[in-house]
């Protein structure tokens, strides 16, 4: 004599992956309840009907064993291996002796290990639990901004907060906003106007920093999440038109108006679209790009941000075009793999998380490449994984970690 509960307990006992238990239990309970009900309608009493329903299910062990096989946590090695390879590529610009960047190697080892640790942590974390904390994440992001905007330090005209070894910088809020907005768009409880206000508060903070590359990345993340969400096509179109007008107006305003408080990054943005004006960075890049060789040369001119903002340029220059193209292909494969995973995910929240992560990884890589060809204004757009620094590494590993976490659980979400 076995009850429904005992049967399900026995099945679950064979499934090693505890996270799959809930879904299996719910489904089997529904089946057994229906089956029991059918027997009761045939005139059997409660206990007999339950017994019959359980008997009809067959062998619990067989079922448990086959379900265990199906629901084993899966690791997407085709994403893990390129990720680790890309992280290793971050050592490339540090190695040449001419650049005298070797003192960064030890720090980069720590950063790479940290990035891998974050990825492992996020992979093991059940992403479904994050959805509940969407609002918390948003509030936390705003609180961090309150501290940063009243910060005590400045670098390249951008404010940040420093107290001893603790540093709070604007980019740290980006993953928080990503998780928050993915949750908001997945839930669909908030109206479009409410979401617009939430977006604008974040956007205002990034402009106040002022960090335009972060502002653009943030805007791209929210915009892509909005397009991927289930808002109606009409709403999407209306928003697109409104925002394109806004941006055209904003850019033309910036082009015409003289920069009263001189701003470094804005001045840089202005130069590229104004003929006659030449920016040192742009002419330097075009000069280097014209003199590239297949296998690289060692006569490198020293440039300040060789391992961060111009990392791809440094690789192209010192290791040659072939190495540079290989690195771009590696990054392309990572993007392709994340997008490929996306196609097999049917959980709305999981899908949006991957879309958001994919959005900023792709934006940063594409912008960086376009920057090298002089097609877009120079901005500090580090390449995830490869540029030196905690920011590109951490953001990259958050995107990879979330994708792996969702891939791992795709059989029962």
């Amino acid at each position: 004599m076995r009850t429904i509960k005992e049967f399900i307990q026995q099945v679950k006992g064979h499934i090693r992956n505890k996270e799959a238990h809930e879904a299996v239990e719910k489904e089997l309970t529904y089946h057994l309840a229906k089956s029991k009900q059918a027997w009761q309608e045939k005139g059997y009493n409660d206990a007999v009907a339950e017994q019959q329903a359980v008997n009809e299910m067959g062998n619990a062990t067989n079922l448990g064993v086959s379900l265990n096989q199906i629901h084993q946590p899966k690791i997407d090695w085709l994403l893990v291996v390129p990720f680790v390879l890309a992280a290793m590529c971050s050592f490339l610009p540090l190695l040449p002796a001419e650049l005298s960047l070797r003192h960064f190697i030890m720090r980069n080892v720590v950063i790479v290990i940290g990035g891998i640790a974050v990825t492992i942590f996020l992979t093991r974390l059940d992403f479904r639990k994050l959805e509940r904390y969407s609002t918390h994440m948003y509030v936390l992001g705003c609180l961090v901004f309150l501290i940063i905007l009243n910060g005590n330090q400045m670098m390249n005209d951008v404010i940040f907060f420093q107290a001893g070894p603790l540093e709070l910088k604007g980019w740290m809020t980006l993953p928080l906003f990503l998780i928050a907005f993915a949750g908001f768009f997945a839930k669909q409880k908030k109206s479009l106007w409410w979401l617009l206000i939430l977006y604008s508060i974040g956007a205002y903070c990034y402009i106040r920093l002022p960090d335009f590359s972060l502002f653009c990345t943030y805007t791209v993340i929210v915009a892509i999440l909005f397009y991927a969400s289930s808002f109606s096509r009409k709403q999407k179109l209306a928003c697109t038109i409104a925002f394109s007008f806004l941006f055209v107006a904003l850019i033309s305003y910036l082009m015409v108006v003289p920069l009263a408080p001189y701003n470094f990054s804005l001045a840089r943005m202005k130069t590229i679209y104004t003929p006659g004006l030449e920016d040192n960075g742009v002419s330097y890049i075009s000069n280097v790009m014209k003199n590239l060789t297949w296998f690289g040369n060692s006569k490198v001119i020293w440039e300040i941000e060789a391992h961060t903002n111009y990392v791809l340029l440094t690789i192209l220059q010192t290791y040659g075009i072939i190495a540079g193209v290989a690195v771009v292909c590696l990054l392309g494969f990572i993007i392709f793999r994340i997008a490929y995973t996306l196609a097999s995910i049917h959980n709305e929240y999981g899908r949006l998380l991957i879309v958001g992560g994919l959005a900023y990884v792709t934006t940063q890589i594409i912008y960086h490449i376009l920057m090298l060809f002089g097609l877009v204004p120079l901005m500090s757009m580090p390449i995830p994984f490869i540029s030196y620094g905690v920011f590109p590494m951490l953001l990259g590993s958050v995107a990879i970690g979330l994708t792996l976490s969702i891939y791992r659980r795709k059989s029962y979400i």
């Binding site: 879904a23 089946h31 229906k34 379900l67």
Partner: protein
């Protein structure tokens, strides 16, 4: 090691053993026929839960499910993992339907069975009529 010992045992111990009809019956019962995709996929053209599929299989006199309904879920979860079907929760009920990939596989399966001899084709038509 185990293999050689097993071979030796086969030579010595099992030589006198008779493989009788009752043994055969036991083996036959032990092997549960895997629920083939050819049976399941056509049913999933409309959205159905595991319980509904079980009932449908009973009406079609499929021996596989009697006293072995659990196998449905193993097959459904496997198909879902192969991305041939997708699922959605309606409250406590999980329903499945063919994915785009699943539709492709089903059309391919149908084309293959169409080439089979006419008697089998007839039987298949009877099965569809039952749907």
């Amino acid at each position: 090691m185990t293999e050689t010992r097993f071979k030796q045992a086969m030579k010595n111990q099992f030589k006198k053993m008779q493989f009788t009809e009752t043994h055969k019956e036991a083996v036959r019962k032990g092997i549960h026929e895997e629920l083939s995709d050819q049976v399941l996929l056509p049913m999933l053209q409309t959205m159905r839960s595991g319980y509904e599929i079980t009932q449908l299989l009973y009406t079609k006199n499929k021996e596989i499910v009697s006293l072995n309904e659990g196998i449905i879920y193993a097959s459904l979860h496997r198909l879902e993992q192969q991305q041939l079907i997708i699922s959605e929760w309606y409250g406590n009920e999980k329903r499945y339907i063919l994915s785009r990939k699943g539709v492709k596989v089903l059309t391919k399966l149908n084309k293959e069975t169409d080439k089979l001899p006419s008697l089998q084709l007839l039987l298949k038509e009877v099965r569809y009529a039952n749907d």
